[in-house]
């Protein structure tokens, strides 16, 4: 792979990070009225927090000084103190990270597999009834608000059937005799949230997979494969899919932001102790430092995922080498 390609992508990512930091900086400063008063409105703050706020924002100084101070703080990983938890923001977020990663990982796998299968079936049977059904299903799934799907799943599977727990990550107050029992407990709690979040992102994947495949079908090398005597199924799987999956790598990365939206909704509905739920709680408590910190960390994660996807793309597509 070309080192210049990697460096260029790295540079683009850095610019994006800078955009995020700048947005984050201005977000809490361009608000109408005295920002300090506005934030203070959120609750009765002790002197200690007022002090930490002043230190964090440095409202009295000139804009560019504030910005530089802000940058210096970020580079020392100081995101301030949470109003609600009275702990450093980074620590609060760190405690929630694993739960979200666990949920997102399984939801992503579910969505990619289901989306790719539905999109492939749809494209392979283009214009037939099965295509209309698959495409309609993908669009329907896209139109369902994730939180609502979560609620309906809870009503049906937990309230009515009692098949899965209502919410949380483990049974509250339960002590697990073995690690295996713990894993099983988490697994049972994971099923409905994974389906909810997976469905939220699956529709988009299916639609893009279909479009990508239909594009590939018009390529000359597909005619070549037909002329060689391959069966239609083999052509779709061995010749078209590898080419159609390439753009999917990028789409999955770009959709990371969309996945965060799914995580916030899913975790809120299922009281899943992850970052999404934290964002919701911080919002309810108007815990601005946590909101700001979470936004920054989520954004940087998304940017990083995009960078990895770009590099992966360059590795998977032999043509990129000479770009």
């Amino acid at each position: 792979m070309n080192i210049n390609y990697v460096l260029r992508k790295l540079f683009h990512s850095l610019i994006t990070v800078l955009i995020v930091i700048t947005i984050n900086f201005f977000l809490f400063r361009i608000m109408p009225g005295d920002p300090f008063a506005m934030i203070a409105k959120a609750g009765n703050l002790s002197a200690e927090y007022k002090e930490s706020l002043s230190a964090l924002y440095g409202f009295d100084e000139a804009f560019h000084i504030q910005y530089l101070k802000y940058l210096r703080q970020l580079f020392s990983f100081d995101f301030g103190l949470s109003f609600k938890y009275r702990k450093p923001v980074l620590e609060v977020i760190g405690n929630r990270l694993v739960a979200t990663l666990l949920l997102a990982f399984f939801a992503q796998i579910f969505a990619i597999v289901a989306g790719a299968v539905i999109g492939t079936i749809s494209a392979a049977f283009r214009g037939r009834k099965i295509d209309v059904m698959a495409l309609g299903f993908a669009l329907l799934v896209y139109a369902i608000p994730a939180f609502w799907l979560g609620i309906v799943l809870v009503l049906f599977f937990s309230v009515k059937l009692g098949a899965f727990p209502l919410n949380g990550m483990v049974v509250a107050g339960m002590t697990h005799p073995t690690t295996w029992a713990y894993v099983m407990d988490v697994g049972r709690h994971l099923v409905l949230p994974v389906i909810t979040m997976g469905m939220a992102i699956m529709g988009g994947y299916a639609i893009i997979m279909r479009g990508s495949l239909l594009d590939v079908f018009t390529e000359d090398y597909i005619t070549t494969a037909r002329a060689k005597g391959f069966k239609r199924r083999d052509i779709v799987i061995h010749h078209a899919l590898p080419n159609a999956l390439l753009p999917m790598v990028t789409v999955i990365a770009i959709n990371m932001g969309f996945m965060i939206s799914g995580a916030i909704q899913t975790e809120t509905v299922f009281s899943w102790p992850g970052i999404g739920r934290l964002v919701y709680e911080a919002l309810m408590a108007r815990d601005y430092p946590v909101l700001q910190g979470a936004f920054l960390i989520i954004s940087i994660t998304v940017i990083l995922a995009n960078l990895i996807a770009d590099i992966l793309y360059g590795y998977l597509d032999p043509r990129i080498k000479y770009d």
Binding site: H12, I15, T16, I19, V20, I23, L27, F28, M31, M38, R126, G127, V132, G136, L139, L140, Y142, A143, I144, P145, A146, F147, W148, I151, V152, V154, L155, V159, K160, L166, G211, L214, D215, A253, I254, M256, G257, F258, I260, S261, I264, Q265, T268, V269, V279, Y280, L283, M284, R286, L291, Q292, A294, F295, I298, S299, V302, I303, N306
Partner: protein
């Protein structure tokens, strides 16, 4: 200029062609009727059906559908059917106005970027790409929380955060229009840049923007519902998201009060699906690559 009339004739012919193709697209027709239905409900419904969000009634809390309350009541004893009808106004209004803002910004950025080109283009596109990957919902939540969640603010926030796709699309379309002969001719007769951009490039870019617009509306409606559900809507204005929030926070789900959240959820899904169907079918018709022979 003499070619103006030919241009017009061409547009007219394209439009006729478009209508013929659209009539043969069942998905688009369904979407169209769904949107018309909700428009009628939003415009006429509140005139025919009386509902006051201040009508609290502790005697009828979370009541199942009855003759008095066709779709039951919420946790404050209010009529859910009424809230649904009034809520369609909010959803459509926020969806449409947020889209207008978003499409305006997106078209402006894309047009300028593609038409002027050069360094301005790369700066604008770097910014657009950077903005594109940002997680939108947390950003929107923070903005709505800071600005205050009036209907007007929600519209502005949604508009300000959803223009990137349009900008990318308009830019690529502008680049291809720019290559065509009539643009060169317009330059040759001494037309100004802004004039060419508005008079010649924009009308040619517009059809694709249009199908994109409809899809942006679908997303805006969905996001608005989510914001209300997360407690960032205006509690004084009845909306579908508010109903769903009420159902969630009052524990109606765990007692199986389906009327509290199934109808409102279906309303959101059907309306969003309507816009998606319409937008998708337009895309299929206008984008020759997708069009089947």
């Amino acid at each position: 200029m003499t070619y103006r009339r030919e241009d017009f004739e061409l547009h007219k012919k394209n439009f006729k062609n478009f209508i013929t193709l659209f009539k043969g697209n069942p998905m688009g027709i369904i979407g169209f009727y769904i949107i018309v239905f909700f428009l009628v409900v939003a415009l006429v419904g509140p005139i025919l059906y009386h509902y006051n969000p201040q009508d609290f009634n502790s005697a009828h809390m979370i009541e199942a559908p009855s003759r008095q309350f066709v779709l039951g009541t919420d946790d404050m004893g209010r009529d859910i059917l009424g809230a649904l009808i009034y809520g369609s106004r909010v959803s459509l209004m926020i969806g449409v106005f947020a889209t207008l803002i978003s499409v305006f910004i997106g078209t402006l950025v894309g047009l300028v970027s593609g038409f002027i080109g050069g360094r301005l283009d790369s700066v604008l596109m770097r910014f657009t790409d950077g903005f594109m990957v940002l997680p939108k919902l947390p950003l929107i939540m923070i903005l709505a929380a800071l600005l205050g969640s009036s209907t007007r603010n929600i519209i502005i926030v949604l508009g300000l955060t959803s223009w990137t796709g349009t900008a990318r699309l308009v830019r690529s379309q502008t680049l291809s229009v720019k290559q065509r002969a009539f643009i060169e001719r317009a330059f040759a007769v001494g037309a100004g840049r802004v004039y060419i951009m508005l008079r010649h490039v924009l009308p040619n870019v517009f059809p694709l923007v249009f199908s994109n617009t409809i899809l942006v509306t679908a997303t805006a409606i969905l996001t608005e519902t989510t914001l209300s559900f997360l407690g960032l809507g205006n509690p004084m204005v009845p909306s579908w998201g508010q109903i769903l929030r009420g159902a969630f926070t009052s524990g109606a789900v765990s007692i199986g009060a389906w009327w509290y959240f199934i109808p409102a959820g279906l309303a959101v899904i059907v309306l969003v699906l309507g816009f998606t169907f319409l937008g998708y079918s337009f895309d299929e018709i206008l984008n020759p690559k997708l069009r089947s022979r």
